[in-house]
Every structure is written in structure tokens, then in C-alpha cells.
Amino acid sequence: MTDTASNGAIVKHDRHEDLPPPKSEVGIYGWIYHNLLYPWYNAVLTLIGSAIAIWAISGVVDYIFIGSIWVGDGPEACTAQDGSVIHACWVFIDARFHQFIYGPFYPEAFRWRINYSFLLLALVATPLFLNPEWIRRGIGLAVAGVATIFSLVAYGAGPAAVIAFMMFAPYGLSYIRLGTILPHSDQNAVIGFGVRLAVIVAAGVAGYFLGGAILGDNEAIASGWILAFLTFGLVTLNKASVKSWIAFLLIFIYPFIAFFLWVGDGFGLDYIETPKWGGLFLTLVVAGTGIAASLPVGILFALGRRSEMPAVRAVSIGFIELWRGVPLITVLFMSSVMLPLFLPEGVNFDKLLRALIGVALFSSAYMAEVVRGGLQAIPKGQYEAAASMGLGYWQMMRLIILPQALKLVIPGIVNTFIGLFKDTTLVLIIGLFDLLGSVQAATTDPKWVAMFVEGYIFTAFVFWIFCFGMSRYSMHIERKLHTGHKRR
């Protein structure tokens, strides 16, 4: 509405409609303008960057997908008419796949044992990732039933029984409360502790003799330990949830099952020497042992380094700095040539065990430093509050300090795991055939000698999946455990 005022000026009374934002600020064009073209040097960078990106992507896509050969029977499938080799030749990976996974020397008839051990691990651990409790129980029990039937068909009665026990037991065990029958340790520590120890030892001895009588000498020790550990769980985990029981079985019982599946020589399984181990399987064994050993040992040394006792502190600092200051490869050399000298005559560790000891020592030192960082970040008030509640040193650490400290350093812990996982490739230098070692060995085969790039790309892809997966999972855990107030 415009009026003409008395002096002839045009006066506007109502508000003009909002103008649309400038085209350079919104929409796809605005995004492109601000993220790729403004100011002028960004436009230049975009130009150079897209040239590089197009060159790289087209090169990779052409190598991996377009110009490559996926199916065939042997090296002939990748040979062109003029005799030259066509890349990428994925036939190579296909032909050697089993060697890369199980190692070049692993007997084909026993591969099921490795598959079964990892299947068991995955199945038992599944309910840990199901939330909330009723879903865990429902789906967990359903999976347990299906897995038992499946393994009965696929592997036979014995393996099926093991799967059934490992998967159903947590639900039943969480109802047994042996600890409430025994004398309470809060009233009299000596009697409470003594009775529990006696029960555990008795179970272990009984297991030893029963196992020896029924199964044989090789199984006696194992069954003794298994029974002792189960009893240990029964007397210490009283009101434990299904989740704690699953974790308990994974930590204390699964290693025995895995040991007999991998090494054999007991429970009717043939013996497989460790020099025959290899491939991704060996990589996972080395990394898994390193990870499993490094966390508890690392925590102990981190506590030692923060201790008020000078002797304990000095020993911890010495241990940590010694292993952190030298490269892993010298540690592996040391454990492979010096460890035999350290042991008394007649005692002999095999090559894999020596490598495992080296890796475990090395990663523990790194883990100790990560955990120490977390311990240092806990304010003094937490220690004082715990002490004023009457908690002793170990109670204070177990219940108050470590849960907070470890939560703080999850990224650091996972980074150490990732580093350790990548470092397992070094065992090939002392003559073990891990994934990279198996690929190396395969590329020296004259038939496939030109295929090393394909082999390395495959290996890199496998490692990348594991490491990237671990880092993403740690981010997820970090978000889940974040109980404080979030900024933003």
C-alpha cells in the first residue's frame, strides 16, 4: 500500500516482504560456493584436489574392478595372449585363500577346529551385545538352541555339548548362590577366605582325579583346573547377572577349550604342533594373547608406578621404560634367541610361545603408561573419599579408582590394541607365518611371483577392516559409557 503524501513523496506503510537469501548462501550452490570455491585460492585447491582425486579413484577402480580378473583356475587365467600378466588377478587370492586364513602348513582335515573355536567365541559373546536384559534372555536362549542343533549336525555330539554348556550355563548359573551358604567373609575374613579356598581346591583335586580316571592323563590337569575355576566362580559371583557369568566363562573357561581345539593332544583331538599354525589364525592368536595379557599386567605396573613404596615404584618404572624404549623387533629377537638361554637345561619353549611372551611384555609396558594416564586424571578427592569410607587399597582401586580411570582412557587402550594388532606382523621376521608371512610365502611361489601387489592389497584390506572396526567400536563404547554431562 503506497500513498502519495501531500508534498508528493511516496510513503510506504506496510513491511516489504522478506527478500530471499542471496543465492551464494543457501542450497547446493551455496554449499559448493562456501566449501569449495570461496575465496579464490580454495577454488584453485579444489581444482587441483579433484584432479588428484579423479586420477587416484579411477586408477584404483580400474585396477581393482574393471581391469581385473575374478574367476579362473590358476595363473593361466591371468595371462594375456602375449604372455603378459593381467592385474589385478584376484584368482591368486581365491586360490590361496585357505592358506592365508589357516596358514600354509595347517592340515586341511583339522581346519574345522579353528572355525569351531571362533564360532564358539562369537556365539558365547553374542548375548553381551544384546540389551536390555529381557532381549538378552530371549534372543540369547533362542540363539543357544539353534546353535546347539546346528553344531550337532555340523560337528557332532561332543562339540555340540560344549556349545550347549557354554551358551546355556550362564542362565542357570546365575541362580546358584553357593556363596550365601558358605560363611560370610565380611564377618570373619580368615574363615570366610579359608573355607572358599578349601572348596575351590577340593573341586580342583576332585576334577583332577575324576578327569584322570575317566578321560586320561592329558585331560586330568585340564579338568582339574576347569572345575576349580567353575567353583571359584560359584563361590565369588553370588548375585551375578547373566552378563557377568558370560564374561566369566569367556575369561576362565574358554581359554581351556580354545587350547585343546588349537593344540589338541587331549579329549580325542589330534596334536597339532605350533609351527604348523599360520595365517590370519596365528595373527589373531598372537594379538589376542597380547591383548589379554597386556591389560591386567599393564594395570598392575601402572599401579606400581603410582605406588608410594619406592622399591615397587622403581621396579615398575624400570620395567615400563625398558620395554618402551626398545623396538618390538629387538624384543622378539631377544625372546627368540635369549629366552632359551634364560631357562634351565631341558626346559624348552617353542617359537610361538617365545614370541607370545615378547609381545605380552612389550604391550604390557605400553598399556601401563595408558592406564597411568587415567589414574593421574582421577582427582585426589576420590582417593580420600574412598579411604574415608574404610576401603583398603585393593578395594579402593577395584571399586572406585580403576572403573573411572579405565573409562577415561578407553581411546588410549583401544589405540594400544590397534597398535598391537598391527605389530603382530613383526613375528614373520622371527620365522612365524602370520597373515602377512603367509602372503609373503605365497608370492615367492614362481607360479604366482608377479602377484605380490594383489596379496598385499588383500592383507592391507583385512588389517584395515579389523583396525578401523576397533577404532569405531571404541568410539561407540565411549559414547555409551559417557555418564557425565555432555557439552553441546
Binding site: H34, N35, L36, N42, L45, T46, G49, S50, A53, D186, N188, A189, V190, E308, M309, P310, A311, V312, V315, E321, L322, R324, G325, V326, P327, L328, I329, T330, F333, M334, V337, M338, P340, L341, F342, L343, P344, E345, G390, G392, Y393, W394, I418, K422, T425, L426, L428, I429, L436, A450, F452, V453, Y456, T459, A460, F463, W464, C467, F468, S471
Partner: protein, 400 residues
């Protein structure tokens, strides 16, 4: 867990519940256990050595090695001693480490800044670089580059060449080698003078700015001095000796190989490429975290004081970011130095490869050889971390 049964009414605590007694008792226990373990290892080791007839001691240091080494900075032949082998290996380790640290720092800082770029494409490309390289084992990357250079790069006759001076082929990288003739000392003296002058100039201008507030273009003047004074020395030298005293020896193809110039063997090229590319990915993340740690308020405050973009970055943002960057950067440098030992896998003659590998195999003196190697790396690590701690302390925030 620990005994909680005692009540104060019983009067005094039992001595085994006294923290002081416990502390001394545990420490004695730890010391005794460590000593016993050490004694056990020592006795086993000496018994084993005696039984296997392995000599001990450092006599091997002066005996003849009898094997060749493909790349050495110092005079070395098959008649040289094991001690000489150690020094050759050490120098090669240092070469790889220093070159690797320089390259990784340059690449890492570039990628780290690129990741923060407002340009979407550039930051995405930096992310892809980082996430790819740091999730692939270093040893695999070393093998990859080594294999690529040996099998993927052209034969010597079809080398990649850059202006006919630098050649790259499957035998390595050939670059021109400067030859210093008499009179070069004037140029080097010029460098010395220039550095002394720059130090003096910067202290003087700093003092003057503190006193009067006047600024002096230190950087440009220093650059001028650094180029000008040695050039002047060179000019005088060429006038005195009649001709420029530096010449370059260019590599040239003669027969089946390149003659002249300096050569980087393929092992070294592969190792450097892999080490610096891998470590750069970690350095890039450190740089990114460091820059992000300086809050935007600092930049705004600097701008509101009238500083332009350049001085803001140089005087406000970078000094604060460096404080965050330096400690993790140190550990990356340490990692790179320790990772250089992976050269053993492709037989580049550095310390672990020739000393802990070949010498150990020939002499069988595992304890001495591994001991020396580990002590050396430990020393190197402690040296770098002492230096970086000193620098860190210098850069640290001065608090009340």
C-alpha cells in the same frame, strides 16, 4: 580381600596391620623376588653358555666380520671388524631416522592442516589418507613399497628422470652430488657468519622492541643475510681461485649402471617412503588436535587487538598449539626411530639388520649383541625424550 576384623577397642593395631610395617614388608618382598629372579636367570644363562661352549665377553668386537654391507657412510670392507659393523649400522639407523623425521613432519603438518581446511574436498582427502595409512601395518607398507620399487619401477635404461639430473629406477634413486673444491671454506664460513649475525640480530631487535616498541623486519633481513653472506663468500672464492669452487657430479648411464652422483638404494627409498607416510598420518592427527585445542576466542581476541591474520597465527595460535602438539609429537619421533628397525625385514643394513642379525648369527653371542642393541635404542629413546622434554618445558605455560 584385606582383613577388616580389628576394632579400635582392642587397643592398638596388630603390627601386621600397621601400614608402615606392611610397606616395608612388601618392598622387601618385591626386592627379594626381583633379585631372586635375576639370579635365577643369570645362573641359568651362565650354565647354558658354558654347556653350549659359547664364548662370552666383548672379544668379538675386534675380530673380522668377513661380510659385505651394501650401503655405508664410513669406510667398510669385508676385513673390517664387528665393531665397525656396529658403527655402520648405527649410522644407517640415524640416517633413516633423521630423514624420516624430517619428511614425516613436513607431510604430517601439511596433511593435518589440510584436514582442517574449510575446503570440503581437501579435508576429505586428508581424512582418507589418515584413515587408510594408519590402519595398515607398517611392515606391510614397507614390503609394498619395496616390492613396487624392485618389480614395478622401470629398468635402468628407462629410468624416470627429472631434467636429466635425478633418476629413479628399480636400482634406487640417483641424485647429483655436490663436489667441494678448495675455496668452499669461504662459503661455509659465510654460513657460520650469517647464523651468528642472525642470532645477534634477533636478540638486538627483541631488546629494542621491548624498550621502544619499534619493530624490525627480522625475518626478511635474516633471509637476506643467510643467502647473501655465503653468496658473497662464494663470489670472493671464485675470484680468488678463478672459478666457482662447487661443482655437481651428475649421474650418467654408463654401460649397465649409473656412474657418479649419489645413490639412495631401493631399500632406503622404500623404508623412507613407508616410514614417513605412515608416521605422517599420526602426526597429522596430532597437529589437528593441537590446532583445535586453541579456542576460537584466542583468534578473536588477537583480531580485536588489531593483529592481522599472519601475526595472529604466528604469535597467538601456533605457540599455544605447539604446547599441545609437542609431547605426542615426541613419542611419534621415538616411534619412527624404533620403527626404523623394521628395515631388517627388507635387509637394509641398519643396526638391527646387520648387528642384531648377521653379527649375532655369526658369533652366537646373543646376550652381548642383543644387550648392546637394546641399550643403544634405550639410550637413543631417552636422549630424544630428554631433548623434547627440555623443549617442552621451554614452551610450557608459565603459571603463577
Amino acid at each position: 580381600m584385606s582383613a577388616q576384623g580389628e576394632t579400635p577397642s582392642r587397643g592398638g593395631t596388630a603390627f601386621w596391620n600397621d601400614p608402615k610395617f606392611r610397606s616395608i614388608f612388601f618392598q622387601l618382598l618385591v626386592v627379594a623376588a626381583v633379585a631372586a629372579f635375576g639370579w635365577y636367570l643369570f645362573r641359568n644363562t651362565s650354565a647354558n653358555l658354558e654347556r653350549q661352549g659359547i664364548a662370552s665377553g666383548f672379544d668379538f668386537w675386534n675380530s673380522t666380520a668377513g661380510f659385505g654391507i651394501i650401503d655405508s657412510w664410513i669406510e667398510y670392507s669385508e676385513e673390517s671388524t664387528y665393531g665397525r659393523v656396529f658403527w655402520v649400522g648405527l649410522l644407517n639407523t640415524l640416517t633413516v631416522s633423521i630423514l624420516g623425521i624430517i619428511l614425516a613432519t613436513i607431510v604430517g603438518f601439511t596433511i593435518g592442516v589440510a584436514r582442517l581446511s574449510p575446503n570440503w574436498l581437501i579435508s576429505r582427502m586428508a581424512t582418507v589418507y589418515i584413515e587408510t595409512l594408519r590402519n595398515i601395518p607398517l611392515l606391510l607398507q614397507i614390503f609394498f613399497w619395496y616390492g613396487l620399487i624392485l618389480k614395478g619401477f622401470p629398468q635402468i635404461r628407462n629410468s624416470y628422470d627429472i631434467f636429466g639430473t635425478i633418476f629413479l629406477n628399480n636400482r634406487g634413486l640417483y641424485t647429483p652430488k655436490p663436489i667441494f673444491e678448495p675455496g668452499t671454506w669461504m662459503m661455509f664460513m659465510g654460513f657460520g657468519l650469517a647464523i651468528a649475525g642472525i642470532i645477534w640480530l634477533s636478540t638486538w631487535s627483541h631488546r629494542r622492541q621491548q624498550r621502544t616498541g619499534e619493530q624490525f623486519p627480522v625475518f626478511l633481513t635474516s633471509l637476506g643475510m643467510f643467502i647473501g653472506i655465503p653468496a658473497l663468500g662464494l663470489l670472493i672464492a671464485s675470484l680468488v681461485y678463478g672459478g666457482v669452487p662447487i661443482s655437481f657430479d651428475y649421474p650418467s648411464l654408463q654401460g649397465f649402471n649409473f656412474k657418479g652422483g649419489s645413490e639412495l638404494i631401493p631399500e632406503l627409498v622404500a623404508l623412507l617412503l613407508a616410514l614417513s607416510a605412515y608416521t605422517a598420518a599420526f602426526i597429522a592427527e596430532i597437529v589437528r588436535a593441537g590446532i583445535l585445542a586453541v579456542s576460537h576466542g584466542q583468534t578473536e581476541a588477537a583480531h580485536s587487538l588489531g593483529l592481522r591474520n599472519g601475526p595472529t597465527l604466528r604469535l597467538v595460535v601456533i605457540p599455544q598449539a605447539l604446547r599441545v602438539i609437542i609431547p605426542p609429537l615426541t613419542s611419534q619421533y621415538l616411534n619412527l626411530t624404533k620403527n626404523s628397525s623394521l628395515a631388517a625385514a627388507i635387509a637394509y643394513p641398519e643396526l638391527v639388520s646387520v648387528f642384531a642379525g648377521t653379527v649375532l648369527n655369526q658369533t652366537g653371542q646373543a646376550v652381548e649383541v642383543i644387550g648392546i642393541t637394546m641399550a643403544l635404542y634405550l639410550g637413543l629413546s631417552l636422549l630424544i625424550s630428554f631433548f623434547m622434554n627440555w623443549y617442552n618445558k621451554k614452551m610450557a605455560l608459565v603459571e603463577r
